[in-house]
């Protein structure tokens, strides 16, 4: 599988490249900033891009902007954004229209090699990866008449894994459950939260994230 990397720290960029190469990926581009990445994606059309959110010149959110551009202009390239901070709102910016083929992980996750590679593969396959810390901060948020309070602990676990972008099979593997049992929990969670059971997994992720997100009246230009 062909992958592009954008990360301004040489140390991390080379580390990431080594990790991905060892796992059988073909690293086709190693970029130090967002414009180099956009150029590489346009000419090389990798299947997935792993992007640091803070890069030169402003060190604010170049990576995220580039990721949004790639998703709009090159639907064939999946994007996994790495961030040093837990910002649910930024993840939601990335998933604005669809969570398919997009991921938002804390940078630390790359140290758990197996988990990280699984996330890259999941995103490249058109699914979603959302950092567990972001999901748990959303789930932990206090709400009036909290509908999450009606969930059993097991249903809560299933909800968090769903929001992180895991498939039913993935959830079954992690919780040592049968696929059938997971499907039962999923439909029970959807029923309790009043969410319509939607088809694809990435649509399911977005629906759950939107449900968990703070209710806001926003009017941003």
């Amino acid at each position: 599988m062909r992958v592009a990397i954008a990360e301004d720290s040489v140390l991390l960029r080379e580390g990431l490249a080594r990790l991905l190469t060892d796992a059988g990926f073909e690293v086709v581009a190693r970029c130090g900033d967002a414009s180099a990445l956009l150029g590489a994606v346009a000419s090389l059309r990798p299947e997935v891009a792993v992007v640091d959110i803070r890069m030169p010149p402003t060190h604010t959110d170049e990576g995220l902007r580039a990721a949004v551009t790639i998703r709009a202009e090159h639907p064939g390239t999946a994007v996994l954004v790495l961030s040093q901070h837990v910002e649910p709102a930024l993840a939601m910016t990335l998933f604005a229209d669809s969570a398919a083929g997009a991921g938002y992980l804390l940078k630390d996750r790359i140290s758990d090699v197996a988990e990280f590679l699984a996330a890259v593969r999941r995103v490249a396959a058109g699914c979603t990866a959302v950092d567990p810390i972001i999901v748990s901060s959303l789930v932990a948020r206090r709400r009036p008449d909290d509908p999450l309070a009606t969930l059993t602990p097991r249903e809560r676990e299933v909800l968090e894994l769903m929001a992180s972008g895991h498939s039913n099979q993935g959830i079954a593997d992690r919780l040592y459950l049968t696929l059938r049992a997971v499907e039962k929990y999923v439909s029970s969670v959807f029923g309790k939260l009043g969410l319509p059971s939607t088809g694809g997994e990435s649509r399911r992720v977005l629906a759950v994230l939107l449900f968990l997100r703070p209710e806001t009246d926003r009017n941003r230009g």
């Binding site: 720290s9 140390l11 991390l12 580390g15 990431l16 080594r18 990790l19 060892d22 803070r54 402003t58 060190h59 604010t60 959110d61 995220l64 040093q84 901070h85 837990v86 910002e87 649910p88 709102a89 930024l90 939601m92 910016t93 940078k107 630390d108 790359i110 140290s111 758990d112 090699v113 197996a114 990280f116 901060s137 959303l138 948020r141 206090r142 709400r143 009036p144 997100r213 703070p214 209710e215 806001t216 009246d217 926003r218 009017n219 941003r220 230009g221």
Partner: protein, 522 residues
């Protein structure tokens, strides 16, 4: 009748001119009026049968137009400057140059001694150009007077109006002379009459200034009450809406106004000295009589010390405000730099280290004890990273500079300990200090809600109102927050006030708490 009107102009201008000359020798205006009076009389020579006198009279016939324009535009200082100067110079050049050209071409009949050729057609054409150009210049002069009208001293305003009337009448007269229309004589008489009124208007203006001097007495009475701001009293006494008093603060080597803000000393100001050093300056319009200004300055000098002390106090206060703003701004910049250094330095290195540990772990297939030790090391690094992340975020909310207030507040609301209703109405990004201050107002207020309020919900509203950003955080908790000693609230107030904003807290016992910050951002 005609002759009578000319004599009237001669007498009016010369008499009033002499009066002004003696009373205001420093102004050239009196002299100018005398010249205008004689100039107008000189053009009467054109009626003479003597060829020499006739020629001289013809030569200066239209010079009087330029003279009138000059005197009206020069009122009251006697000087013309800027566009008025250009207009006057051009008028002189045309009224002399073209008039002589007409005479050289043989215009104005047989008595003209200057004629060197006889080309009546050309002479008439040049004369027509001369008349039309001069009337055009007169109308430009009226426009300049109109511009002045707005900024003028009240006493001058109606004078300017009567001058404008005279100039318009003169312009009409010149154009009528060109077409020899039927009512020429009537208009000419009317013009002479109006022009003759102008010196009376000037005299009246002079009298008005004398009357104004009586107002110095009222000023003294007003000043004895030691008003905080002397400006209104000065405006009344000088009858000059632009009048004000500036104070010299030697320790700042600067002039300041009533509010203590530094200003540059305008040209038209009268210094009030003490022991050879200026202490204050009376700023006024140049048209205000020098004598009146001196009288007012003398009256003001009696109360100047207290007023100056107050201005100095205000100057010091605004200096303290500015230095507080600088301190907070320096702190913000420094925290931002530290966050950046952490991110690019320690955080990156630790992520790199954990990546290497991870790679090592994935290539290791030996001793389970080593594997265990590696996993523990990796967990240790992960904990450090998590602590560093919290530290960096506490130093400076990086998401704020990249994504603005709305996104940053969404994360804050998501992590609050009570349900938060967030309403952020912003179309554009705001200056960074404003966003940071607003961000901390919300963070600190929500932290307080979680700690003390015992609330079940809170709401955050952020909306622009005119040139301020209004941030309001309210909860339904116990209220009774200690607004005086709560260091968090005090720090917030410092931060908000340093930007020139206000922070108010309502916290009645049992009635919830409401924190409202208004931050100027224009």
């Amino acid at each position: 009748m005609q002759a009578g009107l000319f004599v009237w102009i001669l007498l009016a201008y010369v008499f009033c001119g002499l009066l002004a000359w003696t009373r205001r020798p420093e102004s050239g205006f009196g002299r100018l009026m005398v010249v205008v009076g004689f100039g107008a009389a000189l053009s009467n020579l054109a009626w003479s049968a003597n060829p020499v006198l006739f020629t001289v009279g013809q030569a200066v016939d239209l010079l009087v137009v330029a003279l009138f324009l000059h005197v009206f535009l020069a009122f009251p200082s006697g000087r013309v400057a800027g566009p008025a100067r250009v207009v006057v110079v051009v008028a002189y050049a045309i009224s002399i140059g073209l008039q002589l050209t007409v005479m050289l071409l043989g215009g104005f009949g047989d008595g003209n001694l200057l004629a060197i050729t006889d080309a009546p057609g050309a002479a008439n054409a040049v004369h027509a150009v001369e008349l039309v150009t001069l009337s055009g210049l007169l109308l430009v002069g009226v426009g300049l007077l109109g511009v002045r009208l707005g900024s003028q001293h009240r006493a001058v305003r109606w004078l300017v109006g009567s001058f404008a009337l005279g100039l318009v009448a003169l312009a009409v007269l010149l154009v009528m002379g060109l077409f020899v229309a039927a009512g020429f004589t009537l208009v000419q008489r009317l013009t002479l009459f109006v022009l003759g009124l102008a010196p009376v208007a000037f005299l009246a203006g002079l009298l008005d200034a004398r009357l104004a001097r009586a107002s110095v007495g009222d000023l003294v009475v007003e000043l004895r009450a030691e008003p905080d701001d002397l400006t209104p009293a000065l405006v009344r006494a000088l009858r000059d809406p632009t009048a004000s008093l500036l104070y010299w603060l030697p320790q700042y080597r600067s002039w300041v106004d009533h509010d203590g803000s530094p200003v540059t000393l305008p040209a038209s100001a009268t210094l009030i000295p003490r022991d050879g050093e200026p202490v204050a300056a009376l700023v006024h319009h140049p048209s205000v009589e020098a004598e009146l200004v001196r009288a007012v300055a003398a009256a003001v000098e009696m109360v100047i010390d207290n007023a100056r002390l107050r201005a100095e106090l205000r100057a010091r206060l605004s200096e303290v405000r500015a230095s507080r703003a600088r301190v907070i701004e320096a702190g913000r910049t420094e925290r931002r730099r530290l966050e950046r250094d952490l991110h690019d330095g320690a955080q990156q290195r630790l992520v790199g280290l954990s990546l290497r540990l991870g790679l090592l772990e994935s290539h290791l297939d030996g001793d389970p004890a080593v594997r265990q030790a590696l996993a523990e090391a990796r967990a240790e690094v992960a904990t450090s990273l998590s602590e560093l992340r919290d530290l960096a975020h506490g130093l400076y909310p990086a998401v704020l500079s990249g994504h603005g207030l709305a996104v940053a507040l969404e994360s804050v609301a998501a992590q609050a300990t009570v349900p938060v209703r967030l309403d952020v109405r912003l179309d554009d990004r705001l200056p960074e200090p404003v966003e940071v201050a607003a961000y901390y107002v919300v963070c600190e207020s929500l932290t307080n809600v979680g700690r003390h309020a015992n609330a079940s919900s809170a709401s955050v509203e952020v909306a622009p109102a005119r040139k301020t950003l209004v941030v309001e955080v309210s909860d339904d908790g116990a209220g009774g927050a200690d607004t005086a000693s709560g260091s968090g609230l005090r720090g917030l107030a410092d931060r908000v006030e340093a930007l020139g904003g206000t922070l108010r807290v309502w916290s009645p016992a049992g009635g919830g708490t409401r924190v409202r910050a208004e931050l100027p951002c224009g």
